[in-house]
Amino acid sequence: MASSLDELKTAIRKALPGLDVVIAWTAGPDALSHAPLFITEEADVARIEWDPRCSQNLAGYLPGLRGKKAGIVAKGCDVRSIVELLQEKLIDREDVVIFGLDCQGAVDARSARAALGSSRGVRDVAIDGASVCFSVNGEPRFFSPGEVLQSKCFGCAGADAGLCDHFAGERGLPPQFGNPPESTLERLEAMDMEERLRFWETQMSRCIRCYACRSACPLCVCQDHCAAQSREPHWVDQTDHPREKLMFQAIHALHTAGRCTECGECERACPMGLPVMTLKRALNRRIKDVFDYQAGIDPNQTPPLFEFREVETNIKEREW
């Protein structure tokens, strides 16, 4: 990764004079996840970090920078969010410069912390095929990918190098892991309706309504005007009850149905560790079945729920 990082820095240095800002990652207060870095002058370039701790999807910053020329460093999964933003005309292609990277997987800070016992002393993280190595105070500690990486890495299809304006490292190689850990969606599907409801009641009773999940979502276009706080319409009320909290999650899931790229930011942001992406994944699965569509793949496609067709290609209501 060291060579990709050098390549990346060179590319950014070269492009910077034509850009207002470049968004990348740098070492932050938490040793297990890097923080965003907004580069406006060349001196900042040296601070860029690139390793499996660059988990945050930076695409969510782009709509807010509309009108400016922005560069963005993006993993394969992050590129899907950028594609979706382009599809929805929330950003302009000519104002965005994408720096793609050869990602081998990204750390899930919460489970890594649990596995390590603490994040203190972590100096470096590297992925070598079947194991993830954390060097803690100079000592290597090895884990299997399922224990410490984000679940989305297991289904990764690789970076869409085609959309990237620059690419550092080897193009389009997805990480290769076997045996993804069992997902919450799979566990839920094995339950009956009553059990599912109880599951959500238990989870949602822990929600503190901070709306970090919403703020982290790169596709929540409404942000400060969120329907969750509106009284006209009055979709969610202030009762401290799992019902109202789940109602908000249902709204969020429905608003992102067929748009959500499953980048995982909502779950990464949740201070309570609630599995809120599960609802979005369940809806995406339906969208895939019904419309044969996956969000964030082709910038020229219209998401199926954003157009009206009298006859849907994949819904055979009438045969003639």
Binding site: E88, C222, S230, H255, F306, F308, E310, R318
Partner: protein, 651 residues
């Protein structure tokens, strides 16, 4: 707000399985309900008077009626409210008949459910607004699709009533099936003699524009303002120049073209006028048969045409017509009997359809009215008629009775005897269905005066035998097998929906049954309306019908269109979408999903915002589901109203 609740017994329809008194009592507990009662028939005159009186006595601002479906009486009760001085939208209906009493027998459960539905209606009503209808201009023009006898009647009646009519017919001539018939039951008068003058009237009527050889391409708009795009298919002849002299057909060397009008018995030329009485009387070229169009050489017709009307380079042309109402009169098609192996599956030349037989009987047909076997041109003596071919047979998906085959078969046996006194007709039938005026007498005459031998039973096989056909069947009345040697077999093929009926229904947004026949608005009370305002039905497109019924329905549909378009303006429905500018973030998602193009993006204080074109909005609500902000709201069905209903039920 003062709300009054009226719980209807509907005689015993509701009261039989719902404790209406208990429902009224429960309603008194709901918020802002100041009056609740049960009523024998809420829609009856005393029932409505009771509502008007209660509105006065209790100073009601809104009314809930718990009774039947709103499709039945919502309009009735809205008028009641208006009579009492309330806004018509301060009304809600709880359907406790179709949704409760008719579907469940458990009285306690039914009563509970009815009370819950009333509760929902009350909670919604508490959030209703006094909406006002606007008005919009309408086009006083009608489009009739299909120029069979039903469509012709509808077009003539509308035109006589002063409306401009556009008649669209996909064949080169109007007339439909009736123009192919020889004589018609039950009077046995000549079909062309009674239809011909009507066809001429269509051609000559100053209010009628006829597009023959044309089909509907697309339909936009709504009642009062439909925009219909019609595809005028290439005839390869300039119809403005063509005089219908027929010189071209006389010279056309492609003389072996199968003759569509004559049901493919006999041959015609590549360029032809389908029949002498055709309207419009214009020539058209069958592109598959034309030597010039297929091989590039010939052009004989162009050389002889005295007006130089031939246009080998003619293309389909699209024209758009604005009309206020549409009458669908696309008729029926005939069942393809080759699906039945027992009748030879189409392999025997002398096993023909009844419509082909009509062409043999007709003086303007391929045999000039002499009955001749297609195989050898010989005059047949023994003729077997088989009824219900493709009717009343579940196994082939045609469980319904076509209704007119019994009658036309009887007619054909009578005509056969008239043409050939020495002939003998045999009819295999399942039941004789002849309930029309003078119909039963007619079938009796066929048997008693014209000596047709009727055999009740089905035919199991037809086998060729020495140039004739051995028809094997059962006589179920005598309980024995019968075998008849016939020279000719005529199959009474049943009716099925016209080819492409389903596609047309989709374009018109009207419903159709599993067989493709268009659905009327109500089987008894709205037989010519559809569930789409401004679209009416005439003739066999709604279900097989004989000529008298088709003509009657054509007239009825015309009356409906005339009464609709007798007004200068129609009231617009205020139940449309609206965008709250303060909430709209201008994302444009609503604009991209609206099926009717009713949303435009505007700029408001430098910000993009969505705006609804109210006359175009159909109130479908798709935008309100797409808007993440809840900024787009459907009036009378706002999110808050719907949530209030859900909460009434669930909390």
């Amino acid at each position: 707000m003062n709300i009054g609740v009226f719980v209807c017994h509907c005689g015993s329809n509701i009261a039989g399985t719902v404790d209406t008194e208990a429902v009224a009592k429960a309603a008194l507990e709901y918020r802002e309900v100041v009056f609740a009662t049960d009523a024998m028939y809420a829609c009856s005159e005393p029932g409505q008077a009771g509502i008007v009186e209660a509105i006065g006595t209790y100073a009601l601002d809104g009314v809930v009626v718990a009774s039947c479906t709103p499709r039945m009486h919502e309009a009735t009760f809205r008028r009641t409210l208006e009579r009492a001085g309330l806004n018509r939208y301060m009304f809600e209906m709880a359907n406790i008949r179709e949704h409760v009493s008719w579907v469940g027998k458990d009285k306690a459960a039914n009563t509970r459910k009815a009370a819950e539905l009333v509760h929902m209606a009350v909670e919604k009503l508490r959030r209703n607004e006094r909406l006002q209808a606007g008005e919009f201009d309408i086009a006083k023009r009608v489009m009739v699709i299909g120029g069979g006898v039903a469509g012709i009647q509808a077009a003539l009646d509308c035109a006589d009533g002063g409306l401009e009519v556009v008649l669209v017919e996909r064949e080169p001539s109007i007339g439909g099936k009736m123009s192919k018939l020889d004589k018609t039951f039950p009077t046995v008068d000549c079909s062309s003699c009674i239809l011909g003058p009507k066809m001429v009237d269509v051609a000559q009527h100053p209010n009628i524009t006829l597009y023959a050889l044309s089909e509907v391409d697309s339909v936009d708009g709504f009642v009062g303002n439909f925009n219909v795009t019609v595809r005028r298919k290439a005839a390869y002849v300039d119809w403005d120049a063509c005089t219908g002299c027929g010189e071209c057909a006389a010279k056309c060397p492609s003389k072996k073209t199968p003759d569509r009008f004559n049901e493919f018995i006999g041959l015609t030329t590549a360029i032809n006028i389908p029949f002498p009485q055709a309207i419009p009387k214009k020539a058209s070229i069958n592109a598959n048969a034309c030597i010039k169009l297929t091989k590039g050489k010939c052009g004989a017709c162009a050389k002889v045409c005295p007006t130089g009307a031939i246009r080998f380079d003619q293309k389909d042309e699209l024209v758009t017509e604005k009309v206020g109402a549409i009458i669908a009169a696309t008729g029926y098609d005939l069942f393809d009997f080759t699906k039945y192996g027992e009748y030879g599956g189409g392999r025997y030349p002398d096993v023909i359809t009844a419509m082909q037989y009509e062409r043999l009987l007709s003086a303007s047909g391929p045999t000039e009215g002499h009955i001749r076997r297609p195989s050898d041109g010989a005059e047949p003596r023994d003729i077997v008629f088989i009824q219900c071919v493709g009717s009343r047979d579940k196994s082939i998906g045609r469980p319904y009775c076509t209704g007119f085959c019994c009658m036309y078969t009887a007619k054909q046996t009578i005509l056969t005897k008239d043409h050939m006194p020495d002939s003998q007709s045999y009819v295999f039938y399942m039941d004789i269905r002849s309930p029309g005026k003078n119909y039963d007498e007619f079938t009796r005459r066929a048997m008693e005066e014209y000596g047709a031998k009727y055999i009740r039973g089905r035919v199991s096989a037809i086998q060729p035998k020495n140039g004739r056909y051995l028809v094997k069947g059962a006589d179920t009345l005598l309980g024995r097998q019968v075998e008849i040697e016939a020279d000719l077999v005529v199959l009474a093929v049943g009716a099925e929906a016209a080819r492409g009926a389903g596609e047309l229904a989709e374009k018109l947004r009207i419903s159709y049954d599993p067989y493709g026949f268009f659905l009327e608005g109500h089987p008894k009370l709205k037989p010519v309306e559809t569930n789409t305002a401004g679209v009416y039905l005439a003739g066999s497109c709604q279900g097989p019908k004989d000529i008298p019924s088709s003509v009657a329905q054509g007239g009825a549909a015309a009356a409906k269109a005339l009464s609709l378009l007798s007004k200068d303006k129609l009231a617009s429905d205020p139940q449309v979408s609206g965008v709250k500018l303060a909430r709209c973030i201008g994302c444009g998602k609503c604009e991209s999903v609206c099926p009717f193009g009713a949303i435009e993006m505007i700029e408001f204080r430098g910000m993009p915002k969505a705006s609804i074109i109210e006359t175009v909005c159909q109130g479908c609500g798709v935008c309100t589901a797409a808007c993440p902000q809840g900024a787009a709201q459907l009036r009378h069905f706002t999110d808050n109203q719907i949530l209030a209903e859900v909460n009434a039920l669930c909390l």
